[in-house]
């Protein structure tokens, strides 16, 4: 671990030692102000990172950013790391890469079935994390990562940035009012997003010749063993349930992340998720199509996600898509003024240097993934799902409940 991340703060006691007692007594300066001057990593110092998953996305979230320097790469396909692993700059097993002290950050560009575990292990190794979306394959993965990020004090940023653009005064009012429940009934409020609706091939016969450069067992990792077929790897895996949730989670994370931020839902999840009509049943291996999914939160607000050729018309009433202080009564206005203002979002580089939570943090990413995974589940099961956002369990549906925490292939576990 680079020492430059362990900047020692100037203690209050040290500060007072350089000033007169009288002057000091008159001007006690809070620790964090002292820290602001002394604790930050010098802007000139580079943050080093290693890539886990050097395929389509690679390190596109960090590449070219002036603060960051790539010093290692890991992929289970040695063609993607430019040759045989050397234990220093090229790896096929990310666990070995995590042991390199010189790496400050990991940039995770693997498929989603391989997001949670590298995040967890990176946190345990004291590395900050940049992780591509969609975040996780199932709900308890996101909870495990959010908890680990908090416990180990590492910084996390998801690979989508729309929320950074939701900073107008209207946006901030909207977020503050909804986040703090200043309007009790929001059943006429609907926010919506959408995406593409592609699917894969449901027939993936075994192909005996696994490419020499690919460690298929490690590629599968926690996913169930299924015989090799080239469509299981290198992007087309997107359309198979074992690895991720298709376009719904892929585009869903992009469109829902800024939405959930805008509507103050970074720390909660819907209580009810209802699927609209789409071709059914879904194939057990291959992701199918969806039309619209209506997600209702405890305050009545609805989030609607829809897409593609099967998007049926959603004809339920939606009166408004935003609220403002003008919608508050007197009591609500008083409470609005008393509550703290919405914190500004911190970009990843600043977050790493100042050890503050990044704008696209793990808890928020987990809640977006929860929303999208519940959407997929409702579509797969073709029925309304009821969810407890505090206990994070599915209610009154034993089969659906089994999708919240899915057993991993050994030796992997959360």
């Amino acid at each position: 671990m680079t020492n430059n991340k362990r900047q020692q703060g100037v203690s209050r006691r040290r500060f007072l030692g350089t000033a007169t007692a009288a002057a000091a007594a008159a001007a006690i300066v809070p620790r964090h102000v002292l820290g602001e001057r002394a604790d930050r990593r010098p802007p000139s110092e580079t943050i080093t990172y290693g890539v886990i998953g050097n395929g389509g996305r690679k390190d596109s979230g960090l590449r070219g950013k002036k603060d960051f320097e790539r010093i290692a790469v890991c992929d289970v396909d040695i063609k993607r790391i430019g040759g045989e692993p050397d234990g220093k700059t090229r790896f096929t097993d990310y666990r070995e890469m995590l042991e390199r002290k010189e790496i400050d950050v990991v940039c995770i560009g693997t498929p989603p079935h391989w997001h949670a575990l590298p995040c967890l292990h990176a946190a345990q190794a004291g590395k900050d994390i940049f992780c591509e979306k969609p975040f996780t394959k199932f709900i308890s993965e996101g909870r495990a990562v959010a908890d680990a990020v908090k416990r180990y004090g590492v910084i996390f940023q998801i690979g989508t940035f729309g929320r950074f653009g939701k900073q107008s005064e209207g946006d901030r009012q909207n977020r503050k009012i909804i986040k703090y429940g200043l309007i009790k009934d929001l059943s006429d409020l609907v926010a919506s997003g959408g995406g593409k609706n592609r699917t894969g091939s449901p027939s993936l016969p075994r192909v005996d010749e696994i490419p020499e450069e690919l460690d298929y067992d490690l590629w599968l990792g926690p996913a169930p063993f299924k015989p090799y077929n080239p469509k299981r790897v290198h992007y087309s895996n997107r359309f198979y349930w074992d690895y991720e949730g298709g376009d719904l989670t892929n585009f869903g994370h992009h469109s829902m992340d800024p939405l959930l931020y805008l509507y103050g839902k970074d720390h909660t999840a819907p209580v009810r998720v209802e699927p609209g009509p789409a071709p059914w049943p879904q194939h057990p291996d291959c992701v199918g199509q969806y039309s619209w999914i209506e997600c209702t939160y405890a305050d009545g607000m609805r989030v609607l996600f829809g897409g593609g050729a099967y998007k049926a018309s959603y004809d339920r009433p939606r009166k408004r898509s935003k609220v403002s202080v003008d919608d508050l009564d007197e009591e609500g206005r008083k409470r609005y003024d008393a509550l703290p203002d919405v914190a500004k979002l911190v970009d990843f580089g600043t977050a790493v240097r100042t050890r503050q939570q990044s704008g696209g943090h793990a808890e928020a990413s987990h809640r977006v993934s929860t929303l999208m995974n519940l959407c997929n589940l409702a579509v797969r099961l073709n029925r309304t799902i009821h969810f407890d956002p505090d206990k994070e369990v599915i209610v009154d549906d034993e089969e659906a409940a089994r999708f919240v925490d899915i057993p991993m292939r050994a030796p992997w576990h959360l």
């Binding site: 671990m1 020492n3 362990r6 900047q7 020692q8 703060g9 100037v10 809070p30 620790r31 964090h32 102000v33 602001e36 604790d39 070995e96 995590l98 042991e99 002290k101 292990h121 345990q124 004291g126 416990r151 180990y152 004090g153 590492v154 027939s203 016969p205 075994r206 063993f225 299924k226 015989p227 077929n229 789409a278 059914w280 049943p281 879904q282 194939h283 057990p284 199918g288 039309s291 509550l339 703290p340 203002d341 919405v342 914190a343 100042t354 050890r355 503050q356 939570q357 099961l381 073709n382 549906d397 034993e398 089969e399 089994r402 057993p407 292939r409 050994a410 030796p411 992997w412 576990h413």
Partner: protein, 381 residues
């Protein structure tokens, strides 16, 4: 592809002895009749499921209800029609049908049908089907199986190929019978199968498995070793504390990180069992082992665990961290301290208030300030 549970390849279990001759003739006749009937069902079933998948959900429901009405023989036929080879193109429609049927009978209020489907799935393990077909069946039972199917699944735990899907299905069903089935297979298991079983028992937090799993805490195989330590930590096995702490007292490595995490899992587990003093010892030992500057993240995790277990009794440690010169420790602790304040607010409002004031002073992180102010507002009422 025409397949039947009564075909030579997937033949029914046979009897032995002299009585078998008579029975055999009868059986042969019965099998032939079954084969004829099965062929008819092949055509009929194939035609019935041809429209799947469909966005006419009423039509889909009608198809599934017809299959259910045709009984377990029809369901069994469909299962075999999914194909012995994975990805068989002719198995695509049958897979839609079987999988759709599983979801259909698992909907709340349909338990009677669910039992029939689950039982029929489990019965397929009696036949000489391919491993890939049986793996597919395991995946369906992972969703619709219950206690009653555990015994059938457990018979697959000896198989190198099928141990994993069977274990995952049993693990998803959960409960004491599931744990007992996995535990029962453990003593004779070696290699990958042993790792699979230990992993699952750890996930289920099966205390009764701890004595057997302790044998693997320093196994030669690295995967098994790491998984055993995870399992014992997750189970909350107090008798493993020394072994886990010893594993955490090693040179820096991925494996040491896992051992440390196992120690903290153990501490949390002991906290849940009301053994706060034992949990505290483990947390403090970990903090003691991690004094280096670049190990601050583990000190943070140990402190967070301590606070979780001790609550208000951890405030001295939390406050000390909030006053630390180390920015990582300070900011990380500020985030968890807000949770601590929230947790103790009801019974210790004065301490919670003081803690939050410390938090506001110790960090410039606006998100933490926002969260802390909200809790303070609630405290003020």
């Amino acid at each position: 592809m025409k397949l039947s549970p009564s075909s030579t390849r997937a033949g029914a279990p046979t009897a032995g002895g002299t009585a078998a001759a008579a029975l055999g003739a009868l059986a042969a006749g019965a099998m032939a009749t079954r084969a004829q009937a099965a062929d008819e069902r092949d055509e009929k079933l194939a035609k019935l499921i041809e429209p799947l998948p469909s966005d006419d959900h009423a039509k889909v429901e009608q198809i599934l209800e017809e299959i259910l009405k045709a009984g377990s023989d029809a369901i069994a036929k469909l299962i075999v029609m999914t194909g012995h080879e994975f990805g068989d193109p002719e198995g695509v429609k049958p897979k839609y049908a079987v999988h759709g049927l599983v979801h259909h009978v698992c909907r709340p209020g349909a338990d009677g049908h669910r039992k029939v489907v689950a039982e029929t799935l489990a019965k397929q393990f009696d036949y000489d089907h391919s491993d890939e077909l049986k793996a597919f069946v395991c995946r369906q039972l992972q969703l619709c199986g219950r206690e009653q199917e555990i015994l059938a699944l457990a018979r697959l735990l000896h198989s190198e190929r099928l141990c994993e899907p069977a274990t995952q299905a049993i693990g998803a069903i959960g409960g004491e019978k599931a744990a007992a089935a996995l535990r029962g297979a453990l003593p004779d298991a070696t290699g990958g199968r042993r790792t699979t079983l230990v992993n699952a028992l750890g996930r289920l937090r099966d205390k009764a498995a701890a004595p057997e799993i302790r044998k693997d805490v320093n196994a030669k195989d690295a995967d098994l070793r790491v998984v055993a330590r995870f399992a014992l930590g997750n189970i909350g096995d107090a008798d493993s504390a020394d072994a886990l702490l010893k594993a955490a007292d090693a040179n820096p490595s991925y494996e040491r990180d896992q051992a440390t995490d196992a120690c903290l899992r153990l501490a949390r587990g002991l906290g849940e069992q009301g053994k706060a003093a034992d949990a505290e010892k483990i947390c403090r030992k970990v903090m003691d082992l991690r004094k280096a500057e670049d190990e601050v993240h583990e000190r943070c995790a140990a402190l967070a665990c301590l606070a979780e277990v001790l609550g208000v009794k951890a405030l001295d440690d939390v406050n000390a961290a909030l006053e630390s010169n180390d920015l990582w420790l300070r900011n990380a602790t500020a985030r968890t301290a807000v949770d601590v304040a929230r947790a103790i607010a009801k019974d210790h409002s004065a301490e919670a208030k003081k803690l939050l004031e410390m938090v506001l002073e110790s960090t410039e992180e606006q998100a933490v300030h926002e969260a802390a102010h909200v809790v303070l507002l609630d405290l003020k009422g």
